[in-house]
Symmetry: C2
Subunit: 745 residues, 2 copies
C-alpha cells in the first residue's frame, strides 16, 4: 500500500495475499450502486459460486476459507432471506468483467507475465485506474490501461474504458461479461435469471428470494470495424469484442453498464439510463462525475499538513463515508461494511448513530437526517420486537434490515445488547440538536416516547432495593455478555428517559408517565468503585471478573484476543472488547471531571483488547481529553490504518465504515476539539494538534451555518462561510463572526 499527501491510493504489483484487501479498499460507489475493486478479469482457482451453509457465529471470531478474489456488487435495500442467518443484503451479479485474451492466452495475474502493474484510486474523482504491461506467450507486449467509475451524477451508471497498445499487430479478445453465478455468504439468492442479447450488448435480470428484481444492461463500444459477439453460457453473459491492435496505435474500448432494481426510488429502465448518457463521451461523463466529487470534498475534506501519511489515510476514510451514503433515501442507512463486502450481512448497527451520524451531521446535516428518518420508519418493527420480547413500547434491533427487523442470529447480542434502543434515541436527539425537531419526521417524538415505555418495563427493582436496575445487559464491551447496571447503558437510558419526559406531551405520554420517566432516570444507578469514587464501574460484575493473563495467552498481543482464547474465557475475564466507560465519557466530555476520566483510563486501558475496530478512535479521543497527545496520535494511527493495512487483512471483507466515521471524529472532535451540538449550543473548539502536524483545516456545518476552521500551532482561524452572524468559541473565548468574516484566536 503506497500513500502520499495527495489524493491517491496505489497498489503496485499484484499478489494473491493482499488482493482481497485491495478489492475492499478500492470499492467505488454512487450511494446507489457499489462495486468492490476487483480486477477486470478473474484468476485461476477463485470461484465465486462456492455454496456453503454459513452458521450463526460471532463474526469477529469467525474464520473463513480465504479466497484471493471476492466480487461484490451491492444496491442498498436489496435484502433476501438466508437459511441460517436471517435477512441479508444480496451480492448481485458482477458486471465489471472486461477480460483480455490474446491468441488463446487469457490475462491472469496469478499466471501471466505482467510487468508494471499499478492500480490507483483517485479519491478526488472516485476513479480507479489500472495499468500493466503484458508479455504474451505469443511474444507481443500489450500495454493496457483500465479506467472506471460509477457516476456520481448518474448513480445507476458504471463506465469503464480500456486502452490497448501493442508493439506488434495482435488479435485481442476483450470479454465484457455479466456473471450471475455469484453467492452471498455461500448462499444463492437468485430464484430466476434471464439474459437478453442485443447488438454489442446484453442484459441480465435476476429475481431474488427477497421478492425483488435487479436488471443490468451492458453495452460495449468498439472502434468502427470491430465486432462484438454476445453469448450466454449457463449463468454468464459474455460480450466478446474481437479487436485488431495495430502497433503503436491506442485502441480504446468502452463498457457502460446501467443497473435498475425493483426497489429504486426513481424507477427508470436500464435502457433509459444508458440512452441518456449515450451522447456523452467517456471524458464528458467523467468530467461531470469528477465535478460532483469535487463539490463533495469541498464540503467535507479535512486538510492535515505536515503529516502526509495521515492526510492520505484520513482522506480514504472520508472518501468511503462520502461514497457510502445514499442521498435522500431514508429506507436504508449505511451498513457495517460500507457496501464493500458481504460481512455483517449488509445490516445496520449502532454504528449508524454513534460513529457515522456525526460526520454527516457536521458536513451535510440533511444526509444525517435520513438516518433519523430510517429509524423512525422502523418504529412499527421496533414495537413488534418489543412485544415479541414481552414489553410495551419500542425495542430497536441490534442488527437491523431495511424494515427494522431484528436479524441478529446470535442471542447474546440480540437479547442483551439493548443499549441500541438508547443509542437510537441519542441519534434522534443529536439530529434534532442540529436540524431542529421540526425538521424530523412526524413520528420522531413518538419514537422517543415509545422507547421510554420499553425501558420502563425493562427495568427491575430488586429485592431489598428501592431504585431500578438494568439487569442482564451487554454494554459496548461485548466480552462481558450479561451484566448488571452497565454504566454506558444506564447513562444513555437515563438520558433517553429524560428526553421522553421533556418531549412527552407531543409524543402522547401522560403526565404520570413523564413523571415516572424522570424518576427512573434520576434513580438508575451509575456505579462507582468503593475505594476510588472517581472510578465509574463498567458494571456491577466488573470487580468480580477474572484477571486476564495476556502474557501467556496472548503473547505480543498479536491479532485479536478472541482468536487467541475461547469465548468462554472472554466471557468471565476483564478483557473489554472496546471502550465502554471511556466511550460514555467521550460522548459527554462536559459531564465528567478529569479525575473521573483519568480513573477510567487507568483502570480499563490495561485490560482493553481493542478487538473491535471501534475502540482505538474512542481511546484517541479520551487521550486527547487527558492531553496525552502522543498516545492519542498512536491510537489514531491504528484506527486510520485499519482499512489501509492490506497485509493485515485491511478491508478484505469490506470497509470498517464506522471506523472511518470514528477517524473523522478523532480529527474534528479530538484534535480540533469541536464540542457536539448536544454538548454546546455554540460552535466550540479546543484544538490540541499533535506535534507532527503544522495545520488541521476543515469545513463544518454548524446548525445551518457553514464555517471553515484552520488550526495551526500559532492559532486557530475560523471563517464564517455563511450569510449570518456565527458565534464561535475557541478554548472558551467566544466571539461573534459576521457573515463571510474570518477571525484568528
Amino acid at each position: 500500500m503506497t500513500t502520499d499527501a495527495g489524493w491517491t491510493l496505489t497498489q503496485t504489483g499484484y499478489d494473491t495475499e493482499t488482493s482481497r484487501a485491495y478489492e475492499g479498499l478500492f470499492t467505488q460507489g454512487s450511494g446507489y450502486l457499489h462495486t468492490r475493486g476487483s480486477l477486470e478479469e478473474s484468476i485461476a482457482s477463485a470461484p465465486q459460486n462456492t455454496t456453503y451453509l454459513r452458521m450463526p457465529a460471532n463474526v469477529t471470531a469467525e474464520t473463513f476459507a480465504s479466497t484471493p478474489v471476492k466480487w461484490g456488487t451491492y444496491v442498498p435495500g436489496l435484502f433476501g432471506p438466508h437459511p441460517t442467518l436471517n435477512s441479508e443484503m444480496i451480492n448481485l451479479p458482477w458486471f465489471l468483467e472486461f477480460a483480455l485474451e490474446v491468441e488463446g492466452e487469457k490475462l491472469d495475474m496469478s499466471k501471466s507475465a505482467v510487468r508494471r502493474h499499478v492500480r490507483t484510486l483517485d479519491m478526488g474523482s472516485a476513479t480507479l485506474t489500472r495499468t500493466l504491461e503484458w508479455q504474451t506467450k505469443s511474444g507481443a507486449t500489450l500495454a493496457v490501461t483500465y479506467e472506471r467509475f460509477i457516476s456520481a451524477v448518474r448513480p445507476a451508471l458504471s463506465v469503464q474504458r480500456v486502452t490497448l497498445r501493442a508493439d506488434r499487430m495482435v488479435e485481442v479478445t476483450a470479454r465484457a461479461g455479466i456473471d450471475a453465478d455469484v453467492r452471498t455468504n455461500g448462499f444463492d439468492h437468485f430464484t430466476k435469471i434471464v439474459f437478453t442479447q442485443e447488438e454489442c450488448g446484453g442484459s441480465c435480470t435476476v429475481e431474488t428470494n427477497g421478492g425483488d428484481s435487479c436488471s443490468m444492461l451492458s453495452r460495449v463500444h468498439v472502434p468502427d470495424g470491430e465486432v462484438v459477439n454476445a453469448r450466454v453460457e449457463a449463468r454468464l453473459l459474455s460480450m466478446d469484442a474481437s479487436l485488431s491492435v495495430v502497433p503503436d496505435v491506442a485502441l480504446v474500448v468502452e463498457k457502460r453498464t446501467a443497473v435498475a432494481t425493483s426497489v429504486d426510488l426513481e424507477l427508470r429502465t436500464v435502457q433509459e439510463v444508458l440512452d441518456e448518457a449515450a451522447a456523452l463521451s467517456y471524458d464528458a461523463l467523467h468530467q461531470e462525475h469528477a465535478a460532483r466529487w469535487a463539490e463533495r470534498w469541498d464540503g467535507a475534506g479535512v486538510v492535515v499538513e505536515g503529516d502526509d501519511r495521515t492526510q492520505n489515510a484520513l482522506r480514504a476514510s472520508i472518501f468511503h463515508l462520502l461514497r457510502s451514503h445514499v442521498t435522500g433515501d431514508s429506507r436504508v442507512a449505511v451498513d457495517a461494511k460500507g457496501y464493500a463486502g458481504d460481512a455483517y450481512y449488509g445490516r445496520f448497527f449502532w454504528d449508524t448513530e454513534m460513529y457515522l451520524m456525526p460526520f454527516y451531521l457536521y458536513t451535510d446535516p440533511e444526509r444525517a437526517g435520513t438516518f433519523a428518518d430510517f429509524r423512525v420508519r422502523s418504529l412499527p418493527a421496533a414495537q413488534e420486537n418489543a412485544r415479541a420480547y414481552g414489553y410495551p413500547g419500542a425495542r430497536f434491533p441490534w442488527e437491523s434490515d431495511k424494515q427494522g427487523n431484528e436479524c441478529c442470529p446470535c442471542w447474546q447480542y440480540m437479547d442483551h445488547e439493548i443499549h441500541i434502543t438508547a443509542d437510537v434515541v441519542y441519534g434522534l436527539e443529536h439530529c434534532a440538536a442540529v436540524l431542529g425537531w421540526g425538521a424530523l419526521r412526524a413520528k420522531t417524538v413518538e419514537t422517543v416516547v415509545e422507547a421510554a415505555r420499553y425501558w420502563m418495563a425493562r427495568m427491575d427493582i430488586r429485592a431489598g432495593e428501592s431504585h431500578p436496575s438494568l439487569l442482564g445487559v451487554m454494554g459496548p464491551d461485548e466480552y462481558t455478555p450479561i451484566s448488571s447496571n452497565n454504566a454506558y447503558t444506564n447513562w444513555m437510558v437515563a438520558r433517553a428517559l429524560r428526553l421522553a419526559a421533556e418531549l412527552g406531551p407531543q409524543g402522547g405520554a401522560s403526565r404520570e408517565e413523564r413523571e415516572a420517566f424522570r424518576a427512573a432516570a434520576d434513580s438508575l444507578p451509575i456505579l462507582r468503585d468503593s475505594i476510588n469514587p472517581n472510578l465509574i464501574l463498567q458494571c456491577e460484575e466488573w470487580p468480580q471478573l477474572a484477571e486476564p493473563d495476556y502474557e501467556s495467552q496472548w503473547p505480543g498481543r498479536e491479532g485479536c484476543y478472541v482468536a487467541a482464547v475461547s469465548q468462554e474465557r472472554l466471557y468471565r475475564t476483564k478483557c473489554p472488547k472496546q471502550a465502554d466507560v471511556i466511550m460514555l465519557q467521550t460522548l459527554f466530555p462536559l459531564d465528567f471531571t478529569d479525575a473521573e476520566c483519568r480513573a477510567a483510563w487507568d483502570e480499563y486501558v490495561p485490560y482493553t483488547t481493542h478487538d473491535s475496530s471501534l475502540s482505538v478512535g474512542i481511546h484517541a479521543l479520551m487521550a486527547l481529553r487527558l492531553d496525552m497527545r502522543d498516545a492519542a496520535y498512536e491510537y489514531f494511527q491504528k484506527g486510520l490504518y485499519k482499512d489501509l493495512d492490506v497485509k493485515g487483512g485491511g478491508a478484505e471483507d469490506g470497509i470498517h465504515i464506522a471506523g472511518c466515521g470514528c477517524n473523522w471524529m478523532v480529527a474534528i472532535f479530538g484534535f480540533a476539539g469541536l464540542l457536539s451540538a448536544l454538548q454546546s449550543n455554540t460552535l466550540s473548539l479546543h484544538p490540541r494538534l499533535p506535534r507532527q502536524w503544522s495545520r488541521l483545516a476543515f469545513p463544518v456545518m454548524w446548525k445551518g451555518s457553514p464555517a471553515y476552521v484552520s488550526v495551526m500551532a500559532d492559532g486557530t482561524t475560523v471563517t464564517n462561510r455563511g450569510d449570518r452572524d456565527l458565534a464561535v468559541s475557541v478554548w472558551g473565548e467566544q466571539r461573534i463572526l459576521p457573515a463571510g468574516q474570518q477571525t484568528k484566536w
Copy 2:
C-alpha cells in the same frame, strides 16, 4: 391413558391429539433395536419425509410443527452429521408397516369406521397388542388383532402377527413395508438406499452420511395358498399379502424383520437372524422373550401396594429403563430420550451419571459399569476438547456423541455447563464404590486425574483474593447462564479434585500435583448468605438477580415458564429451571444439616420453575429428607406422570428416561431411604412411606450381594438373597443377615 395396578398401559380409542404421545410411551426395544409405538399403518396427512433445516436452539423452548404420526427406528451408535446441529442419532427406515386394505379401502384411523380400538402395552412381557373392529365401506366387519415385540433373546429380531376375523368372505391386502423415506430432525441422512426382493419378503439397506450401513430384511408368512407380492416404489419396499378371509375363521399373518448394521458388536447377517428363528413359532419366540423379561423384572421390579396408580406408573419408568440399556455395549450410553424419539439428537448428557446410573448400579451393576466404560473410552475426545478450549487435561462434552465429541450447538451450555466433567468423575467414583476400582477399565484413574488437571487450569484467582474461584459457570439451573462459584459445581469439583489427589499415584499425578489438587479442593468456596449462614447460595449472583413476577407473567404456572417469557428475562431473573443447591444436598444428604436443607428449600422452592423434567424428583427427595411426605408424594406424582400424561404431550418426542431413573431414585433413595454407596458402606435404609402406601418392596444389589427389601407400615423386612453375610442398617440400627435369611426391623 388408562393404568391399573398391573402390568399394562392401555390406549382406548384413537385421536390425533394424543397419538404421538402414545407412540413414544409404547416404544419397544431390545437395547439393540428400538421402535416407537406407531400404528401398523399411517394416516392421511402425516408425511414422514418432510425436509427442513432445524436450527440450533434451546430444545426446552423450541416448538415444532406438530404431526400426529412420528415414526422412530433407532439402533444405538448409528450417528451421522447434521448440517446445522452436529452429529445426531439417525432415524432408520420404518419396518413395522402391516397395513390393511379391503376392496380398495385402506384402514386409516383418522377416516375409517373403527370401533373398539384398544392398544395395550404389556410391560411384563414387553409386548404391544392392538385390537379393533373395522366396518369397511364394502359392508364387512373385520376384527383385527395385532401383536408385536422385539425379542429380548434375539435383539435384532422384530416379530409381528396380525389375526383377522370377518363376518363375511372378504379379500384383504396386508401390506408389509419397509419405508426408507424418513428424516431425522428434518434431515435425510441416507446417501444410498438399496432394496432386494425375495419370495415373500425383501430387504432394505441404507448407507448413512455417517459412513455406516443398516440392513433390514422382512419376511411375511401367510397361510398356505395365499400370495405375497413384493415391489419397490421410490424409497419404499412393499410386500403385499393378498388374503381371502373366510367368515369366522381366524386368518393369521406374521411379519418378521431382522436388522443388522455396520456398527454391530456381533456381526451377523439379517438372513442369519431370520433363519435361526425360522423353526420357532410366534408363540415359541414370544415365550423365550417373555421369560427373559420376567428375569429382568425379577431383578429390578418395584412393588407398591395400596396405590395402583403409582404402581403402574413406576413400572412404566422401570420398563423403559430396562428397555433402553444395551447390555454389554459400552460404545454407547442411554440417550436423553431413551431411544424413543429424535429430540436431543440421541446424545448423552449428565443424565447418564446423575439420573440413570443409580438404577442400574443397584439392580444390575455390570450394566452400570458400561456407562463408566463409555466415559473412559471417550477420554481422548475429552482431552482434545480441553485443548480446543485452551486447557490441559480432560473436559467432557455437555452433549456427547458415541465418540465423546462435543455436539451441543448452543454455546451457553457447551461452554459454561462445565459441571459435566465433575459429574463424569462422580459417576466413575459411584461405579467404583459399588464395583471396585479394579472392575473398571484401565484408564479410569487416569481419567479422574486428567479431569483434575482441567479443573486446575479452569480456576481463577481474582484480584484481591487468595482462593480459587470457578467463574463463568452454568450450574444445573440453566436459566442462570454465566455465574460465579456455583455451589453445585464447586462442591462436585472439590470432590473430584480430592479423588484425584487420593488416586493420583496410580493415575500418573505427581506429588506436587496431588497437593495442588487437595489445596484447591479445600479452598474452592461454597458461598453462604450473609444473614442466614445456613443458606447455601446457588452462586454469587443469586442475591442480585431480578425477582420474577409469576403472577402477571406466568398466570397459573401453566406450561413451561420458558414458553411464557423471553430467554433474556429468564437469564436475569431468579427462576431456577431445576433443583441446583437442592440437587447437591440430595446427592450428599449426610454432608448437610437439616437446617441447611430447610434454608435452601425455603429460599429456592418459591422461585423454582421445574421447567426441567429432572427437577420434581429431586424435590421429592428433599421433601422426604425434610419429612414433608405429602409434598414429596405430590412431586413424585408429577415426575411419574411426565411420560404418561398423553394429553400434556407426555412422551411424544421420546421418553424422559432420566426422569424414569429419577422416579426410581425417589422410590428407593427417597421413600425407602437407601443411602448410596458413596454415602454408606453398609446397605442402609431410612424408610418413609407415604400414607397412601401399604407396602414398598424391591430387590437391591448391594456391592455384589443381592437383597430384597419390603417396607410396610409396621416395619421393614430385608431378605439376604445372597450366599454370604450382609450387614443391613434400618434407621441406624445395624444387623448382620446371614445368607438366605430375612429380618424385620
